[in-house]
């Protein structure tokens, strides 16, 4: 048996490297099954079904074909599928997590539902958003950011967007395509129009 001495610190992060696909996002290309897909949709989930898509770009503007993105979000009523969210349980079998590897052209996409607004620790409303983690070769630790939606009036009063200089907020806001349930957001790891990443 192990004693439960307090550890001297956490295990440091290391890069996901270039060769994670067969283990984490095989999607039929390798002799291994996927634990997760790029969809959070379940047959019984309520809410507006949307697609979020875009590209991942490096500091030269080159597409990143070996990134992995993970999203975590609330359901359409703004509730997380985790018992640590002690409000009402989320609907249906919705779990709110998905994973996507970028393709050879640096594209990603997620099929999900639009999350509802939810409170911040002071009880103020946070606009609908999705938490996003970005992993890639060259990234020694993953980066955290958020995806907001261009057609949400609540963005103006969102307490997290308010922390971001006004001229950088657009890097967090996925833009709805006219007439479609599709939102576009490119992630720029470095340089002009660099995506805002959060220290959490």
């Amino acid at each position: 048996m192990q004693d439960s001495v307090k550890p001297e610190g956490i295990t440091p992060s290391q890069t996901v490297g270039p060769f994670f696909k067969y283990g984490l996002t095989p999607t039929g290309d390798y002799a291994w099954n996927d634990a997760f897909t790029n969809s959070t949709l379940t047959p019984d989930v309520s809410g507006d079904r949307v697609r979020i898509e875009g590209r991942v770009l490096d500091g030269d503007g080159a597409t990143v074909p070996d990134a992995m993105l993970e999203i975590w979000q609330a359901d359409a009523q703004g509730r997380y599928a985790d018992p640590q969210d002690r409000r009402a349980l989320p609907n249906a079998s919705f779990r709110g997590f998905a994973r996507c590897g970028t393709d050879k052209d640096g594209n990603y996409s997620f099929d999900t539902i639009k999350p509802g607004a939810l409170p911040d620790p002071d009880g103020k409303p946070q606009a609908p958003h999705i938490v996003l983690a970005v992993f890639a070769r060259g990234m020694l630790r993953h980066l955290y950011t958020r995806i907001y939606f261009s057609d949400e009036a609540g963005n103006a009063a969102d307490p997290v967007l308010a922390l971001v200089p006004a001229d950088r907020r657009t890097t967090l806001i996925a833009v709805r395509e006219a007439g479609k349930a599709v939102y576009k957001l490119d992630l720029r790891l470095q340089g002009d129009n660099e995506t805002v990443f959060f220290d959490v």
């Binding site: 192990q2 439960s4 001495v5 307090k6 550890p7 001297e8 610190g9 956490i10 295990t11 440091p12 992060s13 290391q14 890069t15 996901v16 490297g17 060769f19 994670f20 067969y22 283990g23 984490l24 095989p26 390798y30 634990a35 490096d58 030269d60 080159a62 990143v64 979000q73 997380y80 599928a81 985790d82 018992p83 969210d85 779990r95 709110g96 997590f97 939810l118 409170p119 620790p121 009880g123 946070q126 938490v131 983690a133 992993f135 060259g138 990234m139 020694l140 630790r141 993953h142 980066l143 922390l163 971001v164 790891l189 470095q190 995506t195 805002v196 990443f197 959060f198 220290d199 959490v200």
Partner: protein, 233 residues
């Protein structure tokens, strides 16, 4: 600001830009990360159970018709938080090169043989005490193009979830006494030596199985909640 998960713990991690590791130069943000208070979105995380993990997914030596070549190993340990509490029922995913240092990934062009009996991927759930266990073969070191005569020390990649989205960890487990440690910019991207050594497993003779497999212990420590009570939840 009240942080439920102390952010000081993040000092153990590498900085985003580590110029010795060439791939980080164009992929690290130039602008500082923006600090923010943790909200429900950061303090919760996905919950996955046994339906995600099939029986035998933690044994990388039995996924094909024959047995893979190489030294059979057991890798086990506990997933804990930084206060020492076991992290129960959390998903641990691994992937690794074969005994020759070759990955099955299509872009790995290292001229070492693939092993038809080894894919190199596994997953398991920690138990109620945080304990996890894999059976595999010891991965080989392999060359890479970072600099002249660059070789990665043998390692197993690990992905662990923990109990919130901020406890998410992807890391690499190394083997004790590897002569390549001083020369590897990825290993040395962790600035603090003690933190660096937390990525090195220890040889576990007590749990080595006679006539069958060497055992290595690797305890994984995730960020944990401090004593500050959660507000408004």
């Amino acid at each position: 600001m009240t942080f439920i998960y102390p952010t000081d713990s993040n000092k153990a991690h590498p900085l985003p830009l580590s110029p010795e590791y060439k791939s980080s130069i164009k992929r690290a943000p130039n602008k500082p990360l923006i600090p923010m208070r943790h909200t429900l979105s950061e303090l919760t995380g996905p919950v996955y159970g046994h339906e995600t993990v099939r029986e035998g997914d933690n044994d990388l030596t039995t996924q094909h018709k024959g047995e893979p070549l190489g030294e059979r190993i057991i890798v086990h340990g506990h997933v804990r938080d930084e206060d020492g509490r076991g992290v129960s029922n959390t998903l641990v995913e691994i992937w690794q090169a074969n005994a020759c240092g070759r990955y099955v990934h299509v872009r790995d062009q290292h001229p070492a043989p693939l092993d038809p009996n080894f894919t190199g991927a596994g997953r398991t759930l920690s138990d109620a005490s945080g304990y996890y266990r894999f059976v595999s073969i010891k991965p080989g070191a392999y060359p890479w193009g970072n600099h002249h005569n660059a070789w990665r020390p043998a390692h197993i990649h690990l992905s662990v979830f923990g109990h919130s989205f901020v406890s998410r960890l992807v890391t690499q487990m190394y083997f004790p006494g590897d002569p390549l440690f001083p020369f590897d910019p990825i290993f040395n991207s962790v600035p603090d030596e003690k933190a660096r050594m937390r990525m090195v497993s220890s040889f576990d003779l007590e749990n080595t199985k006679p006539e069958w497999a060497l055992c290595y212990r690797f305890d994984i420590v995730l960020r944990g909640k401090n004593a500050t009570p959660m507000e408004n939840h």
